[in-house]
């Protein structure tokens, strides 16, 4: 392989028209072209060439007719059992932030229609680190062309989170650093179709946005460190449809509220949702409760620092994973006192985590020393199944694509590495479902 400078290439079709005729012959005049052809056929050189090429061609045609190379030869052989190969993962793509001032890739969202598109939200999360010339844009990348973003999204302030609508692959909602929410339609261009008004939005960066299941497919909700969870209908972003204050004493006092850092919603349990807070507590809430006091169903505490990631197991929704401080913990909704399983204390902060959508026992975590860990809790619970150093800077976000084989990790300097993991980790093992159930 050779490293060359990146060249911009574009695919275009070519229109072929009749050409190559000598200058004195008009290709549209049928009798002129016919005359030319007749003259050519009488040429001696032509005749000899045709006979010669004809024999050569005849040989090959006869070969084709004699043996059918497309027939099924090995019908009787059975499928070989899949060998246990050592698991591995390799980086298939690394997408860099094209601006000179590098921003953290804070959130990744894969396009739901499996077309290998990835939306990345870029912002700088350190307090008051925004340089004046920092670009506000976030990008949608197509994995086939990692030199130039497929679409540039221009929000009013840098986006902290960005999510594709799982029902409509053209619509995305993004939460901004200044607390506003904006939504885009990729068919309509770079500017948001609508932005929520500043007065009713959050007062702190919007750390989590998730689309909800609804008949209209236009509902979403957002959470922020200002302690509120707001519900919105994207057709009318001027006012939120509902508001919840995350106060665990259930009095609804904003000052006592906990700042939310992550949000989780499972479409099979539409009335419940969970919030991970800065204080290390996970709150399970019921949306359909009558009074605000009853909205907060119960809390789970166990982390020493902010809960950076909170996801339910896609196949067993009662089990969820939280990532925060130096560990990752697995909880069952029924066991409220403590987590049912947790990893040992690592040397670096864990920054994000996510379940594999195809294998219920496999999950991924990213660390602030640039390592991606893949865990399989049926195989080994004390150490990761596979640990890969993705880059030198801290990894800030992680997302697995719906087919389970491709993982995108965003880093502190804005580089998104797209990795493909070996099939051992993607295909469901036979007993896995039963074993996980037993846990």
């Amino acid at each position: 392989q050779v490293n060359t400078d990146r060249v911009k290439v574009q695919s275009r079709g070519v229109n072929h028209v009749e050409g190559g005729w000598p200058k004195d012959i008009n290709p549209r005049e049928a009798d002129q072209t016919a005359r030319f052809r007749k003259k050519l056929e009488k040429d001696e050189h032509y005749i000899s060439v045709v006979t010669q090429l004809g024999t050569l061609m005849e040989h090959c045609v006869k070969q084709n007719n004699a043996i059918d190379i497309y027939e099924e030869y090995f019908d009787e052989e059975e499928m070989i059992e899949v060998e246990i190969e050592p698991p591995s993962a390799k980086t298939i793509n690394a997408i860099r932030d094209p601006n000179t001032a590098k921003r953290t890739a804070t959130h990744l969202s894969w396009c739901p229609d499996a077309s290998k598109k990835l939306a990345v939200a870029y912002s700088i999360l350190e307090f008051q680190q925004n340089k004046t010339d920092m670009s506000l844009d976030s990008y949608i990348w197509d994995l086939e062309n990692s030199n130039k973003p497929e679409l540039v999204l221009k929000p009013p302030s840098p986006l902290v989170t960005l999510e594709y609508n799982p029902k409509d692959s053209y619509v995305l909602v993004g939460g901004c650093y200044n607390g506003q929410l904006a939504y885009w339609d990729t068919r309509k261009g770079q500017l948001p179709v609508e932005v929520s008004t500043v007065e009713v939005s959050h007062r702190d960066p919007v750390y989590g946005t998730i689309w909800l299941q609804s008949k209209t497919g236009t509902d979403c909700f957002s959470a922020s460190t200002d302690g509120q969870v707001l519900w919105w209908d994207i057709r009318k972003l001027s006012v939120p449809t509902e508001r919840l204050v995350l106060d665990i004493s259930r009095k609804g006092i904003l000052q006592q509220a906990l700042g939310a850092v992550t949000l989780e919603f499972e479409s099979t349990l539409p009335t419940k949702f969970m919030v991970g807070t800065e204080q290390g507590i996970v709150i399970l809430c019921n949306r359909k409760a009558k009074t605000p006091a009853e909205k907060i169903t119960c809390t789970y505490s166990g982390h020493h620092g902010p809960v950076y990631a909170l996801t339910r197991n896609p196949l067993y929704p009662k089990i969820f994973l939280t990532v925060g401080d130096w560990t990752a913990r697995i909880w069952s909704e029924d066991a409220k006192e403590s987590s049912i399983m947790w990893t040992k204390y690592h040397s670096a902060y864990l920054t994000d985590g996510c379940w594999s959508p195809v294998r219920p026992a496999v999950f991924f975590t990213t660390r602030s020393d640039g390592t991606l860990d893949i865990w399989d809790f049926l195989f080994k619970q004390s150490d990761p199944f596979l640990s890969l150093k993705v880059c030198d800077e801290a990894l800030s976000s992680l997302r697995v694509q719906d087919n389970g084989c491709i993982v995108g990790c965003g880093s502190k300097l804005g580089t998104v590495s797209v990795m493909e993991i070996s099939s051992v980790l993607c295909t469901l093992q036979r007993n896995e479902k039963n074993l996980v159930n037993a846990v």
């Binding site: 005729w21 045709v50 090429l53 090959c60 045609v61 190379i69």
Partner: protein
Amino acid sequence: GIPVRTTLDNSTTVQYAALLQQLVMKARSTVRDIDPQNDLTFLRIRSKKHEIMVAPDKDYLLVVVQNPCE
């Protein structure tokens, strides 16, 4: 290139002529780049639906499109 004699319809013939002419030039230059004493004698392109066979010469190309026997 100009189609001299054909059994297909005109537009298809023109398309095949133009595309294959370029492909044959490229293939020939590839073969000769690797070994200057060598030259292209025959080119076969097998696709899902049929097989295109090209016998090139200095001035002419003979092109046959065949359906492989099932």
